[in-house]
């Protein structure tokens, strides 16, 4: 049996950036963590949940609550952590900005995992800009070892300078693994709660003093940053000096090992004196950074240097060694033996057996559609469903549905429902529903309850009956919640009961009052089948209508020569019979194949 990581206190570990952050928090004696899942940050909390029971960790309903709860724990003198994806910090921005004024009694590290390249996100925002606006300390690690070290050092900075620390990482840091030196956990006492109104109540009279403290704090940290191990000059060829941070540093070292480099780990406040010394020693300056030209704009507004980076390397997308090589070495590229080949795309798809498929299949059949939200069900936009047409942010499907009705009226509104998962509804859909009731909207809201926060890999939430550690927890009753908001018509439907699903949409579209359909069926990740039944095709009965193929199930492909469907038995999901339901001629059946 593999040891739990909390039993390992020395030696090398091969960790992802996310796992290393969890490790750093644990080694530094962190007491408490509260977060909402979000790619690419999710595994930090999962690792704490699985490996480090000494940290009291919990899933929050959303990022704002997560930061508020860690704020309270910090007020009481605990070392605290909250992790989120970049857009999660938008949700948490309100407490985040004011917490900067209030400061940290117990050390506060907030992790923002930005997603340049949008592997799993709706925008590419660079949260160094948000961290700077909030006037907090920003740290940027460049590999897993630094992810661990900077997290740990973040608590020292936070407590010494009375500031929250924003650890800004990007997808490639989160999800790449490298070797990390393990250390033991240090136990630090929770300091305890003491009343301090002047520090913690930002009424204007107090907040003005707080702001002064924030400005003084930034000056002090800037000075500290000059000799801090977070920043270093690696002097090489003096004809070129590259200023960089985070993962970009690794690409620079890879493609231009002989260049002089100023590697910044502390990117707010910037260590101006060190930067000035570096610029004085090199003939020309270049900036390599993933995301916005944050360092470039700030440094060039302070020092009269000609250097650029954003004109050489795009601010769009994720960096890689090819882009950095071409950018800083005047278009250089490695010789290619083979050019790329044009291939069919392989976009993500709803899993075989996915409960959402039934609802989107019926919407598509009815030529109806949805205002969408953030989760697996965003894939309802893909063919063959084409049944989702707007996405803004977590929870927005409800407000957007309401707004369309406000603009054009119910009678001119196409057949639209809002499609929102139960976790997203709890995150920030509830207030949208209250708004619909309060302001007299009449649309249909569909809460797709698969009892799991699935898109991020399957996390518990307030509706699942389990907490982050898998222990029993109270279940939020969605029907009662919806009724309590003032909705009069609520119905629960199994989305794999296709006739019932269709009836629900037809009746609620016809109703000229606000209603909620809850589609309830567990995510396949929740379900451990005992019996394996797979769909079997009987070619003698097949009329080649392709209705089964049009379900968009990855387990069903089409043999164009024989004009019959082919069922992939490995992918076919036991607890699903959608293809059997849509087949008009009983050419598909679910046959018992065995017992696991």
């Amino acid at each position: 049996m593999r040891k739990k990581l909390n039993e390992v206190d020395s030696g090398k570990l091969f960790l992802s950036g996310n796992e290393a952050i969890a490790r750093g928090a644990w080694e530094k004696g962190v007491h408490f963590a509260s977060s909402y899942p979000g790619t690419p940050s999710t595994e930090i909390m999962e690792t704490i949940g699985e490996e480090y029971p000494e940290i009291d960790a919990q899933w929050a309903p959303n990022e704002k609550v997560g930061v508020e709860v860690i704020a309270g724990a910090s007020f009481a003198g605990a070392r605290v952590l909250s992790t989120m994806k970049h857009v999660g910090l938008n949700v948490a921005a309100d407490p985040f900005f004011t917490l900067s004024y209030i400061g940290a009694t117990g050390g506060i590290v907030i992790v923002s995992a930005d997603d340049p390249g949008m592997h799993s996100s709706q925008n590419e925002q660079d949260n160094r800009l948000l961290g700077r606006a909030a006037k907090v300390v920003i740290l940027e690690p460049s590999d897993s070892q630094e992810a661990k070290d900077f997290t740990a050092l973040g608590y020292d900075i936070s407590e010494e300078f009375d500031t929250p620390v924003l650890l800004r990482i990007t997808t490639r840091i989160c999800h790449s693994k490298s070797l990390v030196e393990a250390g033991p956990r240090m136990e630090v006492p929770v300091k305890g709660y003491t009343k301090d109104i002047a520090k913690r109540v930002p009424i204007p009279a107090n907040a003005r003093k707080m702001h002064s403290r924030v400005e003084a704090r930034l000056k002090a940290i800037e000075e500290w940053g000059y000799s801090s191990p977070l920043n270093r000059i690696e002097m090489g060829d003096k004809s070129i000096g590259i200023i960089t941070s985070g993962i970009s540093y690794q690409y620079v070292k890879e493609v231009y090992p002989e260049a002089s480099v100023l590697k910044l780990g502390l990117t707010n406040p910037l260590p101006w004196k060190l930067i000035g010394e570096f610029i004085d020693q090199v003939d020309s300056v270049m900036f390599v950074e993933e995301g916005e030209p944050y360092l470039e704009e700030r440094i060039r507004s302070r020092f009269l240097v000609d250097g650029t980076g954003s004109e050489l390397i795009s601010v769009e997308g994720e960096l890689n060694p090819e882009l950095v090589r071409a950018g800083i070495k005047n278009g250089e590229e490695l010789p290619l033996t083979f050019t790329g080949v044009e291939l069919p795309g392989r976009p993500p798809a709803l899993c075989p057996g996915c409960p959402h498929r039934g609802a989107f299949h019926i919407l598509s059949k009815m030529k109806a559609s949805s205002t969408g939200d953030i989760g697996c069900y965003t894939l309802g936009l893909m063919p063959p469903y084409n049944a989702l047409e707007t996405v803004v942010c977590m929870g927005a499907s409800i407000g957007v549905l309401s707004g369309i009705e406000k603009a054009v009226g119910r009678s001119d509104m196409p057949k639209l429902v809002s499609a929102i998962g139960e976790s997203t509804f709890v995150h920030s859909g509830i207030t949208g529903l209250i708004d619909m009731v309060y302001n007299g909207s009449t649309g249909t809201v569909m809460i797709m309850d698969n009892s799991l926060t699935a898109m991020t890999g399957g996390q518990e939430n307030p509706t699942t009956g389990k907490n982050l550690r898998g222990e029993p927890a109270p279940v939020l009753d969605l029907e009662k919640m919806v009724l309590a908001c003032g909705v009069k018509y609520v119905r629960v439907v199994d989305p794999h009961d296709l006739p019932e699903m269709r009836r629900a949409f037809e009746e609620e579209f016809a109703r000229e009052e606000l209603s909620v359909i809850i589609t309830r069926r567990p995510c396949i990740m929740q379900y451990k089948p005992k019996r394996i039944t797979v769909a079997v095709h009987h070619p003698d009965k097949c009329v080649h209508c392709k209705l089964c193929v049009k379900l968009g199930c990855p387990a069903i492909s089409w043999d164009a020569e024989k004009r019959i469907p082919v069922i992939n038995e490995t992918l076919c999901w036991p607890n699903c019979n959608l293809c059997v339901q849509v087949c008009p001629k009983d050419a598909l059946s679910k046959d018992l194949e065995g017992v696991v």
Partner: protein, 191 residues
């Protein structure tokens, strides 16, 4: 070994790409190298294209392999091998197999699955198209395709000893499935 070794393992979500790259990293680390690897999480795992870059050597900086620099590309699905072919170094080895997984774009008729063998012939891509489906069938487990192919790739990574490979498989595979995975690795290495 002065030069860093670059390996790309690719295929589709659910094929065990992360497991294969985990075993490779463990074997490289056991052999005394610095190792880095990248993974894809989140939306792409829902049946999309998945890849893992692995680099090992004395000191590794970038975690991503550069185009034109891969020593080995290991494709668990044959069309996916072509998606990465521009990453292959002049001396590089492209190892793929007879596993075909049609993407949704092909299922729904908006795209056609290409004739992979023909394209490779036309482009003069030297490839090893290994008959892993038959081997997996013989082993009675179609989830070991990843380890069979890793076994085949291991011959092209002489820096890592056989012992370290087997120890890495043992470390990373759940005990219940260990025997079949060790056999899968042996069968792949013998190809």
């Amino acid at each position: 070994m002065r030069r860093t070794k670059n390996i790309i393992i690719c295929g589709t979500g659910g094929q065990g790409i992360l497991m294969a790259s985990e075993v490779l990293c463990s074997a490289a680390w056991r052999s005394g190298f610095d190792v880095k690897k990248s993974e894809v999480h989140g939306m792409a795992q829902r049946g999309g294209s998945v890849s893992s870059h692995v680099r090992f050597g004395e000191k590794v900086n970038s975690v991503l392999v550069e185009k034109g620099a891969a020593d080995v590309i290991l494709a668990l699905e044959k069309m996916e091998s072509l998606r990465w072919v521009s990453y292959l170094a002049p001396h590089g080895k492209l190892i793929t197999c007879d596993v075909k997984i049609e993407p949704m774009t092909v299922n729904t008729g908006s795209a056609v699955y290409p004739d992979v063998e023909k394209i490779m012939d036309e482009m003069n891509i030297p490839n090893l198209m290994l008959p892993v489906r038959e081997i997996a069938k013989e082993l009675g487990n179609n989830r070991v395709v990843n380890i069979i192919l890793l076994g085949a790739a291991s011959k092209h990574l002489p820096e890592i000893s056989e012992e370290n490979w087997f120890q890495a498989v043992e470390e990373r595979v759940p005990p219940k499935a260990l025997e079949v995975n060790l056999e899968a690795f042996r069968r792949g290495r013998a190809l």
